[in-house]
Amino acid sequence: MTDSTQRSTERRKHVGRAISHESARGHVTGEALYTDDLVPRTKDVLHAWPVSVPHAHARVRRVDFEKAAQRPGVVTVLTAEDVPGVGNVGAARQDEPLFPEIVEYHGQAVAWVLAESEAIARRAALEVVVDAEPLDPIVTIEQAIERDAFLAHELKIERLQDGRDDIEAALAACPHRSRGEVQIGGQEHFYLEAQAALVYVDEGDQVMVHASTQHPTETQLIVARVLGVPSHAVTCQSLRMGGAFGGKEVQANTWACVAAVGAVKTGRPVRVRLDRQRDMALTGKRHPFLGRYEVGYDDEGRILALNAELFSDGGWSLDLSQPVLARALFHIDNCYDFPSLRVTGRVCKTNKTSQTAFRGFGGPQGMVVGEDALERVARVLGLPPHEVRRKNFYTEGSETHYGQEVKDADRIERIWTTLGESADLERRLAEVEAFNEAHDHTKRGIAITPVKFGISFTTAFFNQAGALVLLYADGSVQVSHGGTEMGQGLHTKMLQVAADALGVDLETIRMMPTRTDKVPNTSATAASSGSDLNGQAVRDACTAIRDRLAPVAAEALECDLEDVVFEGGEVYRADGKGERIAFGQIAKAAYLARVPLFATGYYRTPNIHFDEEAGRGHPFHYYAYGAAVTEVEVDGFTGQYTFRRTDILHDVGDSMSPKVDLGQVEGGFLQGLGWLTREELVWTGDGRLATRGASTYKLPSLGELPEEFHVDLLPKAADPTVIHGSKAVGEPPFMLAMSAREALRAAVAAFGEGGRGAVELGCPATPEAVYWAIEARREAANEALAAEE
């Protein structure tokens, strides 16, 4: 495939190839460095450890660190007095004191010990005595609603079918109405690399921040605010992250700020690294949600109206809770056309960690509520859920409840049909039914669910990106851009984009760590937008350089500008005549001819807007689609289950990097599977997180990988409005896991002797939740039997 520019020609050589992760060699040899790996390479580092208060809500009367400070090896204890600037690290609003007087969640740090080793800091932190007066905590969403404790104003989107006065009127006109309520659990990010920062003060008071952050610009900004210095006095580098998933979008800032305050106070490098227990206790998670709804429908299962209210558990501070909630409202429709739809949402304030971004960003919670309604309608009517789903799909020309055209809506049907065939759905539905008839104590369930996910930051100004490309006179290249690498393969894709745009080999280019002194004012690497935004910016910069090289090459090749081809490290004439000149030679010649060999690149997504007041707009550049079929087997004695098979067909546009994209689809699916099945966050009544370690919180292991797993990328799916026709892939596959939840529900239903009626299933559907759902189904079947007799 050839992309042509006005001046010289770009050939697609690396983009689209299934290459391994750009850092794969470093990963497998242990040579790839992460923030905390810099510590033994840095001299005189001090180690910080938090002084935690074991109450979910308390007023701090006194912090007595006299004894701790005397322990040999302790250098100082950081408190509010040590903050040179503003002692608040809140990102959305300034509602997160770094050294709080009121403890707002269990384990919150009120002071930090700095010591010569982590072991000493930990021992000393235990010796700090905090005199705190416990206050009444809010632990659940229900408690927050009851006490009118919310972190922000209500959000609402409403679309009414022609002529209806309000949603009640729309529901009143429906032949059937059902109510549902679904409690949706949160999720711990469990990035394998816990939060980490290392800060030191360089020459001229320049503060160098190494942080495991998805948003170096914001980390820079907040560190500067806390230190009371301009942004130019702080440089932030995010080398690479050992996973993030949204958990380091905002939540990385606090630790960098603690380290910065410590470094400025002591003049020594300061390291903050949370261990897993602290990380789970102190950092925000996916928002738990409560969804209540009423759905109206006809005899055939066509949905006519939905009225839903969503409550999210925001924790103690606002963080990103409002845009997370907004995305839930935007995605309650999933792939379905609800003629009348009203959805409202509130962020509840509770005395928990501040819940935050997590892959899907509220979209999954919204969709789970929508899918719950679809499933309920099917089961109440006794219709096959997959047929009810299909009946309600958006079609070409449909508009969402917020008034955006559902671009490429035909892909929903195309994916559904293709996947149904490749997964052999009809035959397997029959097989499952036969199996269930033959077995009393073991039942299988199979379900297919679709995904539609809107791509773009719903906050319009984040949809911009920058890049800096440096070509050296020997022909080697450094590429910097605003995006961060957290394992998602962004640098890999950027490498491919840059290599094709410059017409060089991958080895010619070095991807540089993300730094705020290379590209300023960047957006978080989030919302699946990393490669869309930064890809355009990188290409823009590379194209600028290529265009400057082209005249030099044209002269050497004795041809017109448009006949110059840059490809694979060589420059040659499109007509094949003449010699092939090494890229490095052209670079050298350009340098000698005094041509600037560096360029910036920039991109902003066009036409993104949303009027919150009206609930109307165009918040997304496009949608990504997919569908999954999952089959499970459930043990009726214990509720334990296994995943027998999953088939996925997912739309990544024209894949820029198939190995990377496949990894995102598979990994996203399994992470979603964990959220909906095994991963259960448990808080005690007094607000302590009881599941604060890998031994109590169970993310998917190899055992959750379906025994059979078929994943395909949708062919012929290029989106010409996106870089190289690709589509964003980070988040959408996460929601493919809803197929597993609905498969479990189907299996549970099979325990009820073919009974009708909704199947209430906890979320996450832990083995215990599945067990109680089976018990309820069995009881209902027994009651029905007794009534017949």
Binding site: G30, L33, T638
Partner: protein, 474 residues
């Protein structure tokens, strides 16, 4: 006893002088700049810190993976450790590394060193058939990015090992670990002592001199306390090099398993002899843990949710307890006194576990947990029946974990099962006793009500599994 203790890491000796015995190998390595090995959880669940310890195996050697977060660095004095940073030969990747690159087995790369080490040990495992995938080999490693498929593909693609330096190393003998005595002075002037005796006699001499010593079997529980609860002791004594605790013997009366035998060895050697073990161990944490964990530790720990007690109670196991005064035997059913309290006297250790013969002709282990691999049980059950020629139960054992302050048997239900065949009526009779046998509690693993239900449901499951139209067979 070595005067200048060192540990051999990727062929390079590193001094252990003045190292706190509470410092896990993981932190020891990282402090010295060997940051390839990662910390993911510090409690042996994620495997990011996995390294290989070269272990004696008769006249040759074996590569054994362990979680370096749960092994004290000084505990490996004089031993040889291989980390992820010691595999590549210059620019040439090791085959397991190349496989991970090729399949896309790394995304963020943070769990990758642990997976690489698990794959490395599996690559050289005696008896591995290339192409066959043994899930357990990577069952103790967690990845949050990939969804495991490419890592499993990497495992499946591993060729048979060539004649490389690791293969040659395996062919060489590894001497049994020598005794170690180690003292560290901490920053506050306090002293911490560490002993690694190699005989019971030496152990009891140490215990006589250091009565406050904390005994460490495999360390997979003690070091969770060190890492997670900041627990410290003035004296640590490692039991992992005492030959008398590491034997397996069988005679006409019983099978006797040394309390210090790593669980993975019991799994490998006795999984077929005692089917209960074959069912128990794959569900018992992960291979990375089982390579260190011991029956002695799992019993002395006396957790109500330990996995081996229900199995061993069902097998009617007898403990051999040893002290400086000699040995005595105690039925396991009399060992657990209360929550985390045992009948072990001061200065006494569990030396061995005897499984008496004849073995029961029905033996089953069930574990109810959120996750199937690598999890802690919500409820576990060990069931055993000895039956006569007519199928009448002559002795029944129903033992549970997770439903009381200690692992416990449902003796009333056992009584009503004896003297009858195990049919549907027997289940109903037993159920009336099981329903009230225990008063479990609610915690983050499960509700009291669920646990209570499982006590009966698991016996019903046993019946279903044993009935002629067994669903388990499909």
């Amino acid at each position: 006893m070595s005067s200048e203790p060192t540990i051999l890491v990727d062929g390079r000796p590193i001094s252990l002088a003045s190292v706190d015995p509470h410092q896990p190998l993981l932190h020891f390595l990282r402090e010295r700049g060997l940051t390839g090995t990662k910390e993911g959880c510090a409690e042996g669940e994620c495997g990011a810190c996995a390294v290989v310890v070269v272990t004696p195996e008769g006249e040759s050697s074996r590569f054994v993976t362990v979680n370096s977060c749960l092994v004290p660095a000084v505990g490996l004095a004089g031993r040889e450790v291989i980390t992820v940073q010691g595999l590549a030969e210059g620019e040439a990747l090791h085959p397991v590394q190349a496989a991970m690159v090729e399949t896309g087995g790394s995304q963020c790369g943070y769990c990758t060193p642990g997976f690489v080490m698990s794959l490395f040990a599996e690559h050289y495992r005696e008896g591995r058939v290339p192409g066959e995938v043994w899930d357990e080999a990577i069952g103790g490693n967690l990845c949050r990015c990939t969804g495991y498929r490419p890592i499993k593909d990497a495992l499946a693609s591993l060729p048979a090992p060539g004649d490389d330096r690791h293969k040659r190393r395996l062919a060489q003998v590894t001497p049994a670990p020598a005794a170690v005595q180690h003292v560290a002075t901490l920053e506050d002037g306090s002293e911490v002592r560490f002993h690694r005796p190699t005989t019971l006699e030496a152990l009891f001499a140490i215990l006589a001199a250091e009565p406050e010593a904390k005994l460490v079997g495999g360390g997979t529980d003690v070091f969770v306390e060190v890492n997670q609860l900041d627990r410290r002791w003035p004296v640590l004594v490692s039991l992992d090099s005492i030959a008398e605790l590491r034997g397996i013997r069988e005679d006409d009366a019983a099978l006797t398993i040394g309390a210090g035998v790593p669980l993975s060895r019991i799994e490998d050697e006795l999984g077929e002899t005692v089917p209960m073990f074959g069912e128990l161990f794959p569900l018992f944490s992960s291979r990375l843990i089982r390579n260190r964990a011991t029956l002695g530790g799992n019993l002395v720990n006396a957790s109500p949710i330990g996995d081996s007690p229900p199995a061993l109670l069902a097998l009617d196991a007898v403990l051999v307890l040893a002290s400086a005064e000699g040995t005595r035997e105690l039925p396991l059913s009399e060992f657990f006194l209360d929550y985390r309290k045992t009948a072990l006297a001061a200065g006494e250790i569990v030396a061995a576990v005897k499984v008496p013969k004849p073995f029961p002709d029905v033996q089953r282990f069930y574990k109810v947990s959120k996750r199937i691999m690598d999890d802690i049980s919500t409820v576990a059950a060990g069931f055993a029946f000895w039956r006569d020629a007519d199928g009448v139960i002559t002795k029944a054992r129903l033992a549970y974990g997770g439903v009381a302050a200690t692992p416990a048997r449902a003796t009333a239900a056992e009584d009503v099962l004896e003297g009858h065949p195990f049919d549907a009526m027997a289940v109903v009779r037993a159920s009336t006793h099981l329903g009230t046998a225990f008063t479990p509690m609610t915690d983050h693993r499960g509700s009291a009500r669920y646990r209570e239900a499982m006590v009966t449901r698991l016996l019903e499951k046993l019946h279903a599994d044993l009935s002629p139209r067994s669903e388990a067979a499909e």
